[in-house]
Amino acid sequence: MDYVAVISVEVVYAVASLVLISAGLAIVFGMMKVINLAHGEFMMMGGYATITAVNYGVNIFVAMLIVAPLVVGLIGLVVERLVIRHLYGRLVDTMLATWGLSLLFIGLATMIFGNTTTGISTPIPGFTVGGYQINGYNFFIILVSIVLLVAMYAVLKGTRFGLVARGAMQNPEMAAALGYSPDKIYMATFFAGSALSGLAGAVLAPLVGLVPTSGGAYIAKAFITVIAGGPSLIAGLMSSAGLFGLVNQIFTFAVSPVMGEVALLIAAVILLRLLPQGVTARFLKGKM
């Protein structure tokens, strides 16, 4: 019984962290059709922003939930203005340019923070269920992911900005004709996407030792989760994260963590072969 509880917590946690990792990329890709391969580095910078802020005496939750998203969002804003806005509509070129950016940020982080592992301890203590130890911080991550999904849904569906943004993504000329500048909307969307990446990096920072190349561990997972999710933003994110998280944890418990990772990747390849446009192109069509 305890074992089942532990496994289910782990599965939910795996799904939640996939949602968290992919949310920023999903917004930028789902709404703007820009694949940001520097996404992992945005997360890495979110982590460094948190650690730096904590070292300056900021409360860890403030650092994670406010400082890191703001810092990374601003960096994203600069990147959008300098690089990405020149490349809208050129999918492959944006991929390559953002890959270049990712290398650039790795280089910058190496120069500033050095090529050493830094980290902070988790602010929430663990507890035991029967004979098993559960990391209390996992629940925090699950909570953050749920809040994130609800907030994304609320903003996109319920607010004027969400409506305008969705309109501009579907038909930029029409939005421009109605008096909304697509340029500004893209800018704001990219800011939001980068801020979410920063948040994800910050929240995950206490769990991993941070090095300048940490981003690489996230980007592939985020990338496949978003692509496999398909056109619907939130439904796609939830369905593909759910599937991959489940596959990952089943194989992790049944075989080994490495096989879990490999199984996740193989599942992604097979899924893309069967549903090349992503899960939500076939199922849950037209959902958010």
């Binding site: 991929m95 340019a97 890959w99 270049g100 940020f105 280089g107 120069m111 490495v258």
Partner: protein
């Protein structure tokens, strides 16, 4: 396959011979060997991406596969001739299977990128986890993150004790590169190559004309992988160790950068891009003020923004401009008509 026009083949060989002879006066042959190997790797992606339109994010997978196949085969066989062949065949076969999987599923663009990227990652993770003694192929232990050291390096065919290393190894690499270059040139001149370019330009039209686009893409993909495998085998001989780092995303990124910087749709571009950037990296590695990765990233961003065609096509355009003074006008009418046919 149409055989190369004699004049072009002779010119290529002559230019190559002069370069092979003069380059060692400026750069040590040890460094030159690796530059040539990277040039071959760049050419392999230049072929399938620049001429076939297949953006492969996992060219490093074939490079690594070639290196590992060579190392494993060399340990088991103890002689280098057959392993060199195996190192080309294994990646080519692997790419053919992967190609069937992808192209027959009509995957394109980003999805192709994702799958090749993911496959590279799977290989990387798998090889990294094979440290235990249970992972053995014949006499060769896979060694996990430690890689495989101490395999038989290149020898004169039939004489396992007569190693090729140092200056002779440089000449072997150079001749191999020239042969691969001539092969690629001949391939692109043949009807197969011209149809491949046609597929890059307009896949639907080529398939309506009756060509089996999927099979042709798969074959081209496999050829590119075979060349990358050969480069991998030569790399294994140069480094005398193979490690999982060969499969890393950073390696894949670098190959793509070489092609972008050198120029897509040319044969010389990716080779020059590879050798040039690798040499730049080598020079930058000798100073510690600015991080190496930062420069690589900056170069990629700047090229995508300002010179997306790459150096070689840009120089060629400049050359044409200065020779002809006035660029030839494009014929807009034909293009519009052609596009209407697609719709």
């Amino acid at each position: 396959m149409v055989i190369l026009p004699l004049k072009e083949a002779v010119t290529t060989v002559l230019v190559a011979a002069v370069l092979i002879y003069t380059l060692p006066m400026m750069i040590s042959t040890y460094t030159l060997s690796i530059l040539l190997i990277y040039a071959m790797l760049g050419l392999s992606l230049g072929l399938i991406w620049g001429f076939g339109g297949i953006l492969c994010f996992g060219q490093a997978a074939f490079f690594g596969l070639g290196a590992y196949s060579y190392a494993i085969a060399a340990i088991n066989i103890g002689e280098s001739t057959l392993p060199m062949v195996i190192a080309m065949l294994v990646p080519a076969l692997f790419a053919a299977v992967l190609g069937v999987f992808m192209f027959y599923g009509r995957l394109a663009d980003v999805y192709l990128g994702v799958i090749t990227l993911v496959v590279t990652l799977i290989l990387f993770k798998f090889i990294n986890s094979t440290a235990g003694p249970s992972y053995v192929i014949g006499k060769a232990r896979l060694g996990g993150y430690n890689g495989i050291p101490g395999f038989q390096t290149l020898n004169v065919p039939g004489q396992p004790d007569n190693y090729i290393w140092g200056d002779p190894f440089y000449y072997v690499c150079a001749v191999a590169l020239v042969i691969v270059f001539l092969f690629v040139t001949a391939l692109l001149r043949s009807s197969f190559g011209r149809i491949a370019v046609g597929i890059r330009e307009n896949e639907q039209r080529m398939s309506l004309m009756g060509y089996d686009v999927r099979a042709r893409k798969t074959v081209l993909f496999a050829i590119g992988a075979g060349i990358a495998g050969l480069a991998g085998a030569l790399f294994a001989n140069w480094a005398e160790i193979v490690t999982p780092g060969l499969y890393s995303l950073g390696q894949s990124a670098e190959i793509i950068i070489w092609c972008i910087v050198g120029g897509l749709g040319t044969r010389v571009g990716p080779m020059l891009g590879a050798a040039g950037l690798a040499y730049l990296k080598f020079l930058l590695g000798q100073q510690s003020m600015i991080d190496n990765t930062l420069i690589t990233g900056l170069i990629l961003v700047l090229f995508v923004l300002f010179l997306p065609k790459g150096v070689v096509p840009a120089v060629a355009d400049l050359w044409k401009l200065s020779v002809r003074r006035r660029p030839r006008r494009k014929r807009p009418n034909r293009r519009i008509r052609a596009e209407r046919v697609d719709g």
